[in-house]
């Protein structure tokens, strides 16, 4: 039996044992093969010392490609494998498993990226790309020869989940996890759960009443014994790692005892202070002490201290004596195994830029404001009126893509606004058939089930569609009507239109506080300001941080069914960890060589995880493996070279550096 075959997983190979490297060059169809001359690369790599075999595959990740690796490991007694293909982010786990099946330690794999970092970015420079691929693989081969066996470690997983954001996506995650028997903490920064969906009047394409379908779900969340709702609370600190996150939650003071409050709103009735009602998008007023909205969960009042004048009328009115003006923020420390970020969105604010005259003229409102006007529980009892004179408008214009598909604001399509506008126009038409609606659009996008039908329905109802973006919006100073100049790009003519009310379909933008959540959870933000998923197609709810998942609009604009699906998807992904009660983490850590360590303690303050402790007796540094995350910052700081980072040892990195420019062309 060969050494490679007999080498148990993790067993150190004998010192001085011959390194037998196999190099597998992937063509990735034409992704690599169409640019890099893979045959020439393999031929050159075959001449390097230690390389026993090279192989070119159309798709190394395919079954036949992996079978080829396994066959060659057997045939040539390989003990190191180099795969030159795509990004290790895509297929490193595939090939680690592949060589592990043959009895090799999974860390004996070196993955070289000749697609994302070579063929795709040098598409027109085939020869140079081929030379670069040779260099990259040579670096990999030299590193591979020095790779040492490691064990991936297992960490226990606390079978509890934290969900940040109790909109429809977060609630779905909470319900699914709770129904599977896991304890769930559902944190919501607003005084009530429900999120944005609670503010919608009707939801497309079937136009069912939003709160009528959301309300029962909110109640279900509240009644579920496994869900602990933490409303009016925010995540303040997150420490730890997959399976073992320590989270600090701040409960903002409601200035009343939630246990005593019955939600009767008697306090509101007597409160003399009126402020614009945020739930109604600033239309109408609420009191300084108020119940967020009639279906709020928990149905409890909240005192807005900023606007309170301390008249104490509410305290006198409250029959259960719940009011407490001296309440301070309180904190809860949680230990959870997984975190789901469902932090939601807000709509684009056209005020600062005065897009299409918003903020300059009274009779221009956003779709969200229109939504509240339509709502029977809204500020006008469901009557759509124009702000200037509270008259019901006849001619209503809708402008799509406000804050979307515009290089001056956001270049992306928000996806939902076409349907929102179509639905809003329909609802108004149904309520008041005498109204006249014109939707000004760039393109109408109706990609999902029932959406195109809804679009057709609104056209049958008589809603007009005009393809064009307003170029000028003015107010008639007398009538306060809105005059719009717009090019009808289908008819090829300029149209001058007059509306009683203009509604802007504002797009989806990152929610407030998303930056804080991003930093707390160590996530990446995309160019659009929303959070990044681990893979846009194959891992849409995972993140690069193990044990952290994303649902809903946190990671891009979504409609309700999509957000709900993602909520369920997160619960499913999280359950893998919660049910197994363990997670596999990388075996990469810092290691101290006690023979070289002089106990200078330079490394100790370097470690962001306090993983290095002094062994006082021996006078040497000691790495606590369970705490070490393997960043290597201490290793670079160690003045004696006593610290090493496994899998990224000095000799391994130096071998790469030494070999990177060997093929350099010199103009001589």
């Amino acid at each position: 039996m060969s050494d490679a075959k007999s080498a148990e997983k993790g067993v150190e190979l004998k010192i001085g044992e011959e390194k037998r490297v196999g190099v597998f060059v992937c063509e990735c169809g034409v992704n690599i093969g169409g640019v890099v001359n893979t045959k020439a690369v393999a031929e050159y790599i075959g001449t390097l010392p230690g390389v026993k075999v090279t192989s070119v595959n159309k798709f190394t990740c395919s079954d036949s490609g992996q079978a080829d690796i396994q066959a060659k490991i057997k045939e040539h007694n390989l003990n190191r494998v180099v795969v030159a293909a795509c990004s290790p982010k895509t297929h490193e786990p595939t090939f680690r498993a592949c060589i592990e099946e043959m009895g090799l330690n999974q860390y004996f794999l070196e993955f070289v990226n000749i697609r994302d970092h070579c063929s795709w970015i040098h598409m027109w420079e085939k020869e140079k790309a081929t030379e670069k691929a040779k260099d990259l693989i040579r670096m990999g081969v030299e590193r591979a020869k020095l790779l040492e066996p490691l064990q991936a470690s297992e960490v226990p997983v606390t079978d509890k989940a934290l969900i940040i954001g109790a909109g429809v996506a977060g609630m779905q995650s909470a319900l699914d996890l709770a129904d599977m028997g896991f304890q769930v903490y559902l944190v919501e920064k607003e005084p009530s759960i429900g999120g944005r969906m609670a503010r919608f009047d009707k939801v497309f394409p079937t136009n069912d009443c939003s709160i009528c379908i959301l309300g029962p779900k909110m109640v279900e969340v509240a009644r579920n014994k496994n869900i602990k709702i933490m409303s009016y609370s925010e995540v303040k600190a997150v420490e730890g790692y997959v399976g073992n996150f320590n989270v600090k939650i701040e409960h903002k003071p409601r200035y009343l005892d939630v246990a005593k409050c019955t939600g009767c709103a008697k306090c509101s009735e007597v409160c003399p202070v009126e402020v614009p009602y945020d739930f109604n998008e600033g239309f109408g007023t609420r009191k300084a002490i108020y119940v967020p909205f009639p279906q709020a969960v928990p149905l409890r009042a909240v005192l807005d201290k900023e606007n309170c004048i301390s008249c104490k009328a509410c305290a006198k009115a409250c029959q259960s004596g719940a009011i407490n003006y001296d309440m301070q923020p309180s904190f809860t420390d949680l230990n959870v195994g997984v975190i789901i970020g469902a932090v939601g969105f807000k709509t684009y604010d056209p005020e600062p830029r005065h897009d299409f005259g918003y903020g300059l003229y009274d009779n221009i409102i956003t779709a969200m404001e229109f939504e509240r006007l339509l709502n029977a529980a809204g500020p006008t009892g469901g009557h759509v009126v124009r702000p200037s004179d509270c008259k019901e408008p006849i001619r209503v214009g809708f402008v799509n893509c406000v804050g979307s598909r515009d290089k001056n604001t956001n270049i992306y399509c928000s996806g939902v606004c076409c349907m929102v506008t179509i639905k809003n126009a329909q609802l108004l038409k149904e309520k008041r058939p005498e109204t006249d609606q014109t939707i000004m659009y760039i393109d109408i996008r109706t990609p999902f089930r029932g959406y195109e039908e809804s679009y057709n329905r609104s056209r049958n109802l008589g809603v007009k569609f005009l393809r064009g973006r307003p170029v000028e919006v003015k107010e008639d100073p007398v009538t306060k009507n809105i005059k719009v100049r717009v090019e009808d790009t289908l008819a090829g003519e300029i149209r001058n239109l007059e509306f009683d009310l203009l509604v802007l379909a504002t797009g989806i933008v990152p929610n407030e506080g998303i930056g804080q959540i991003q930093q707390l959870l160590k996530l990446s933000k995309a160019a659009d300001g929303l959070l990044m998923e681990a893979h846009p197609k194959l891992k849409p709810v995972d993140t690069t941080i193990d044990g952290v998942f994303l649902a809903g609009c946190a990671s891009g604009p979504k409609d309700i069914p999509y957000a709900v699906s993602q909520g369920s998807a997160c619960a499913g992904r999280a359950t893998i960890l919660l049910k197994n009660k363990k997670a596999i983490t990388e075996g990469i850590t810092a290691v101290v060589n006690p023979d070289v360590c002089v106990g200078c303690e330079v490394c100790i303050p370097m470690c962001p995880f306090q993983a290095i402790k002094m062994d006082e007796k021996a006078g040497k540094a000691n790495v606590v493996k369970a705490l070490c995350k393997g960043c290597g910052t201490c290793v670079a700081a160690c003045p004696t070279g006593a610290l090493e980072q496994s899998h990224f040892k000095n000799n391994q990195i130096l071998a790469q550096i030494k070999n990177v420019f060997k093929f350099q062309e010199v103009a001589a």
Binding site: K89, I121, G632, F663
Partner: protein, 151 residues
């Protein structure tokens, strides 16, 4: 997409700089991946060496690279505040700036560059490489490297 390579005539114009980029696993390596996925063409002057964190890069690695043939060395990590390891990149910043000061005495400081490139900044990655390549081209060959010819 980039245009076809320009027709070059003189030796100086023919010369292509060699850049070694240390990219952190979590942000910059992924940013380089995104540049690839987005097919953002940039010059084949750079080779990427993956480290877990930008703070793993020791000054000796940089000196070794300059000695072994690099005309420029790039260290790329997560933006401050976004580090996967809380504040490894702050350590990297201190270290690289100190190394830069030391290199200043040798007139090599412009050949070392530290950049923060996130996983979503594929475009930025390609632009940093383009810029750095142009800068190194202006500086010319690294005078201290021990030149190796094709073997």
């Amino acid at each position: 997409m980039s245009e076809a390579p320009a027709v070059t005539t003189t030796k100086e114009e023919c010369w292509v700089p060699n850049i070694l980029a240390f990219a952190c696993n979590w942000c910059s390596y992924a940013g380089a991946d995104l540049a690839g996925v987005s097919r953002l063409q940039y010059p084949p002057t750079v080779k990427i060496l993956r480290v877990m964190c930008s703070s793993r890069v020791e000054p000796s690695f940089i000196l070794k690279a300059l000695k072994d043939g690099a005309d420029g060395v790039l260290i790329a990590g997560c933006h401050i505040g976004d580090c996967h390891y809380i504040d490894g990149n702050k350590n990297a910043e201190i270290r690289i700036n100190n190394t830069k000061k030391a290199l200043e005495k040798l007139g090599l400081d412009k050949r070392l560059r530290l950049e923060w490139i996130s996983a979503s900044e594929g475009l930025r990655f390609s632009e940093v490489i383009k810029e750095f390549t142009d800068e190194i081209k202006k500086l010319g060959q690294n005078p201290v490297k021990e030149v190796k010819v094709n073997e």
